[in-house]
């Protein structure tokens, strides 16, 4: 397992990679899981927040909401050529509203390692741990 920061990390899964975010609330864990998602491709600290994108989605459970949230980010990256480095997430009754700040991919500066093509249901979990912290995680396909 690779600990990246106190709030997010990636973990090993065969040929692919898992992303995991922690937080006092599900929303914070979702925002940190998104940081872990960016880290699969590039160092999120090197992504400038020059543009922002709004997101809104609703799903039957927090787990499917995480899946949808991460896949919306993957979709924006794929279709708009954007990388994201900062996230503001709110969740109410399995409904997510969020803003993500980022910038167009700069191959020289970001040196993207691998493109995430989708978030998957493998190791998909959103749960509160005994220490009261929330964890939001899944494996992403690269």
């Amino acid at each position: 397992m690779t600990v990246e920061t106190a709030d997010w990390e990636t973990f090993v899964h065969g040929a692919d990679i898992g992303v995991r975010g922690f937080g006092d609330q599900p929303a914070a864990a979702f925002a940190h899981a998104a940081m872990a998602l960016t880290s699969v491709t590039t160092d999120p600290a090197g992504v400038r927040g020059t543009v922002h994108v709004d997101f809104c989605c609703e799903e039957p459970s927090l787990e499917f909401l995480l899946l949808e949230w991460l896949n919306r980010l993957v979709y924006e990256t794929a279709t708009q050529g954007l990388l994201f480095g900062r996230f503001d997430v709110a969740i109410n009754d399995n409904r997510l509203t969020a803003q993500a700040w980022g910038e167009p991919i700069d191959t020289q500066r970001h040196e993207p390692a691998v493109e995430v093509k989708g978030a998957t249901m493998t190791e998909l979990k959103v749960e509160q741990r005994p220490d009261r912290r929330w964890v939001a995680q899944c494996v992403v396909d690269v």
Partner: protein, 475 residues
């Protein structure tokens, strides 16, 4: 794998049905390869063997490893008359990811005289890596025509030659594709990605035919020692992934409606005879066409690149195989010809000699099976056998499979060090990402030679030629 596997033949192992399994699991592997497979592979094969309508067995190929729902290197066939299902997880996210092998008419000596120049032109002409965009931009109408027409559409649009289609599975066009079943999001994602390699383990590699093992089959494929060939490994890009993501979610959410118990959500599936099953089938076939068209456009770009450096080269497609598919095929089950839907997830179709779907030139040799390796080791060309029909519904392996995670690889190697080491061996690497090169280090993969040997020993396919890398454009 530590389970109770019974040896049933030369490099073949069987796990008897138990608990919810409807059929046994069968793995083709040496004792060492079997022991090296993760326990999760056994769990996944047992799960697949429990799905409704599965016939004969759930199969693992010699390169089987842990995947999403189904193992990669997994084969399973379902009978719609017995309530059989179709599984988006059983096809995989990168629908019709595959390998196209192309002859160049050049010798290794020709290549070595101008290898650096070729590597630089390929790096410039072949869009690779994250953020790269293709030069082919499709309108909504053109996209639908591509999804219905596959490589045939690409050739008719000026990307390639009609003879390329004869050397492509399904003769370049997967029939009964349904572009209307593909979401606007999936189509949007593909708008600028036609004719791109992508990233991860995808590549374009110039190779030397190092050794021929089966002269007759090699002659049928036009391969001879010291000739130069090119392999293109890529798939249906963003469109395939978006289809997989959307249908997996819908199938998982609707599993209870079909009364299918899912031990793993990635096994999400729907009855073949359901609206959802049919809709996925139509979308998945459109995804296959996208991959076939993508490799066809890349072939066109490749020809242009070669012309700049080697005007005398004549690039001819040897064959194009897909290894993430579900195909409707006729097979014998209990002595009876039956229509089945064969899922091959990280597995290659391997029709044996005489199969009516093969082009005339391969009727004696069997279908070419192209096995991707790594940028530092080797790739293989095999040929389908008649025995493979009864062994695994005419299927074989697809590659080496990782033995090390991406993170472990970046800890063990640096991209720059790898590029320098490979250059010292005469292998030129061109990639937009040093980290990407490190993640794909040859040492992070299993021994592809052993996988090819066991594939032959088990009877799934026989070895025709070993190819070694000379120039690799990594995505």
């Amino acid at each position: 794998m530590q389970g109770n596997w019974e040896r049933i033949g030369n490099e073949a192992w069987r796990l008897a049905p138990r608990d919810a399994m409807r059929v046994p699991a069968i793995v083709y592997a040496s004792a060492a390869l079997l022991a090296g497979m993760e326990d999760k592979v056994e769990v996944q094969l047992r799960n697949v063997a429990s799905l409704p309508g599965i016939v004969t067995a759930a199969y693992g190929m010699p390169d089987a490893h842990w995947g999403y729902g189904f193992p990669i290197g997994g084969v399973a066939a379902f009978d719609p008359d017995q309530g059989g299902i179709i599984s988006a997880g059983g096809v995989g996210y990168d629908i019709s990811c595959g390998v196209r092998l192309i002859r160049t008419g050049l010798t290794a000596g020709d290549l070595e005289r101008n290898k650096e120049a070729l590597a630089d032109v390929l790096a410039r002409e072949i869009p690779a890596g994250m953020g790269s965009r293709g030069r082919v931009h499709l309108s909504p109408g053109e996209l639908d025509a591509m999804l219905a027409g596959g490589a045939r559409w690409a050739v008719e649009s000026g990307y390639g030659m009609a003879e390329d289609l004869e050397r492509t599975e399904e003769r370049g066009r997967m029939a009964a594709a349904d572009p209307a079943a593909v979401s606007p999001q999936a189509k949007h994602r593909q708008r600028d990605e036609m004719g791109t390699l992508g990233s991860g383990n995808h590549y374009l590699e110039v190779q030397r035919v190092e050794r021929v093992f089966d002269r007759n089959a090699a002659a049928a494929m036009g391969l001879a020692e010291e000739e130069v060939v090119v392999s293109i490994h890529c798939g249906s890009r963003g469109l395939g992934h978006q289809i997989g993501t959307e249908f997996l979610k819908e199938m998982a959410l609707r599993a209870s409606e079909f009364r299918i118990g899912l031990p793993d959500r990635e096994l999400a599936c729907a009855p073949l005879r359901s609206e959802l099953g049919m809709r996925y089938l139509g979308a998945m076939r459109a995804g296959i066409n996208c991959a076939l068209a993508n490799r066809q456009i890349l072939t066109h770009l490749l020809r242009g690149a070669f012309r700049q450096v080697f005007p005398q080269a004549g690039l001819q497609v040897v064959y194009d195989v897909s290894h993430n598919t579900c195909k409707e095929e006729r097979h014998r089950v209990d002595g009876r010809e039956t229509t089945l839907f064969v899922h091959r997830k990280g597995a290659t179709r391997a029709f044996g000699p005489g199969h009516p779907k093969l082009p005339e030139e391969f009727r004696e040799s069997g279908q070419p099976v192209i096995i991707g390796g790594t940028m530092g080791t080797a790739s293989w060309v095999l040929a389908g056998t008649a025995a493979s029909e009864s062994l695994a519904f005419s299927s074989a392996c697809h590659g080496a499979g990782r033995s090390m995670s991406r993170h472990q690889a970046t800890k063990a190697w640096s991209g720059r060090q790898l590029i320098d080491e490979l250059k010292a061996q005469g292998i030129l690497i061109r990639s937009p990402s040093l980290r990407g090169v490190a993640e794909e280090a040859p040492g992070a993969y299993k021994d592809v030679d052993e996988v090819a040997r066991v594939t032959e020993a088990s009877g799934l396919a026989r070895r025709v030629a070993r190819l070694v890398p000379r120039v690799c454009v990594k995505g």
